[in-house]
């Protein structure tokens, strides 16, 4: 338990989010980024909703794993 707690303290949630959003889910991030890039002069809310949903799904799955 103590080992687990120590790991949890060493890598703060924000650091894990950083890792997963750039490394673990880089493919989905690129798809989302490309979608924004295609429309960045006229971005509206939820214009890349599906691409982000896939990206978020991947991050959430990765965050659940320890």
């Amino acid at each position: 338990m103590s080992a687990q707690a120590a790991t949890a303290q060493r890598t703060r949630p924000i650091q894990r989010l950083a890792l997963h959003s750039t490394v673990t889910c880089s493919a989905q991030a690129t798809v989302y980024g490309k979608c924004i890039l295609a429309t960045y002069t006229d971005v509206k809310k939820d214009i890349c909703k599906e691409e982000f949903a896939a990206f978020k799904d991947c991050i959430q799955k990765a965050m659940k794993k320890r």
């Binding site: 707690a5 949890a8 950083a18 809310k45």
Partner: protein, 334 residues
């Protein structure tokens, strides 16, 4: 079971640390903000104090790279001025990135002024370049009220390295500096301006629009290069020199950039900022930053530095001749 619950509790008590500081700030009046109130100076002081003590200052020292680089470039400009000074004022000195480079044969004493006492006293006197006979005085005081700290017409030179970008009333502080100088006194400063962190600004804006449907301030408004010479002129400086320089730094991703900014004590302190950024918005911004500005394995962050030199007028200074006093016809020359 209990282990899981404990872990869950642990997780829920951990705070996301990119949230901007809002504690202890004096409450901002909702309907009234004076024309020159852009930054929350109290939050800024707290951010700097905290940055200076995080990991006993180790984190803060690691991110000295920008300030050290700019201090050296500013020193080049200072060395071009062929004059010796007994005392200079280092306004918004931090731990003294610029003062550390001063040599005793040019400057004998540096008065360092900073609003964050912890940052000001981070490094011992022994780390200053001109160790022997070089005097350092440290004053904790608000950079915005310079004239309450030093007397009018008292200083030979006022220098400022990367501090003026957090000053609310830039025209006002320039007037105060001019007042504090002796006639023919020197003002030399470097400040962040113009395009600084435009990549981060645009990425966060795009992410906020797409995810949440609106934007909020995350990166400070910066002074434009063109405005600086006007402001210096308006404050009564003469013989102006203004130039700009870009420092471009590569980071692995947006997250390292934001962490470093926080360790520098340069996190967001704009009045009316949101106290946290949603996770979704952050991940979205990271993806956009990479795609919009990124290079193969890194992302660039631009820091635009404006260097300015101005002098307090004095009768001994060279002046342009009056109109119509020219004796030679230009036609003969050209």
């Amino acid at each position: 079971m209990s282990v899981q619950r404990l872990l869950h509790k642990l997780r829920s008590t951990q705070r996301r640390s990119f949230a901007a500081i809002s504690t202890n700030s004096p409450p901002q009046p909702v309907n009234y903000v004076s024309p020159y109130q852009i930054f929350d100076r109290n939050a800024k002081r707290l951010q700097k104090d905290r940055a200076a003590i995080r990991d006993a200052g180790a984190r803060n020292r690691t991110v000295d790279y920008i300030r050290e680089e700019v201090a050296e470039r500013m020193m080049e400009r200072f060395m071009d001025i062929k004059r010796k000074f007994d005392t200079v004022v280092d306004l918004g000195s931090g731990p003294g990135h610029f003062s550390k480079l001063l040599e005793t044969d040019k400057v004998k004493k540096s008065i360092m002024i900073d609003s964050s006492g912890r940052l000001l006293n981070r490094d011992p006197d022994s780390e200053f370049e001109g160790k022997l006979g070089f005097e350092v005085e440290r004053i904790v005081g608000d950079e915005e009220n310079l004239l309450t700290i030093i007397d009018r017409n008292s200083q030979e030179a006022v220098l400022s390295c990367l501090s003026l970008h957090w000053v609310n009333d830039l025209p006002g502080i320039l007037v105060q500096i001019q007042e504090a100088l002796q006639p023919d006194g020197l003002f030399l400063a470097a400040m962040f301006g113009g395009e600084t962190l435009f990549e981060l600004r645009t990425s966060l804006q795009l992410a906020e629009i797409e995810r949440e449907g609106g934007i909020s301030p995350h990166v400070s408004p910066m002074t434009d290069t063109r405005d600086i010479s006007n402001l210096l002129g308006r404050a009564g400086f003469t013989l102006l020199t203004v130039d700009t320089d870009d420092v471009k730094i590569a980071y692995p991703s947006m997250w390292e950039l934001m962490e470093d900014l926080q360790d520098m004590g340069e996190a967001n302190a704009v009045i009316g900022r949101r106290n946290l950024i949603q996770r979704d918005t952050l991940s979205a911004a990271s993806a956009i930053y990479k795609e919009l500005h990124g290079e193969s394995n890194s992302i660039p962050a631009t820091f635009q530095i404006i260097y300015m030199i101005g002098w307090k007028p004095a009768p001994s200074q060279p002046k342009p001749l009056d109109r119509g006093t020219g004796k030679m016809n230009l036609k003969d020359v050209l």
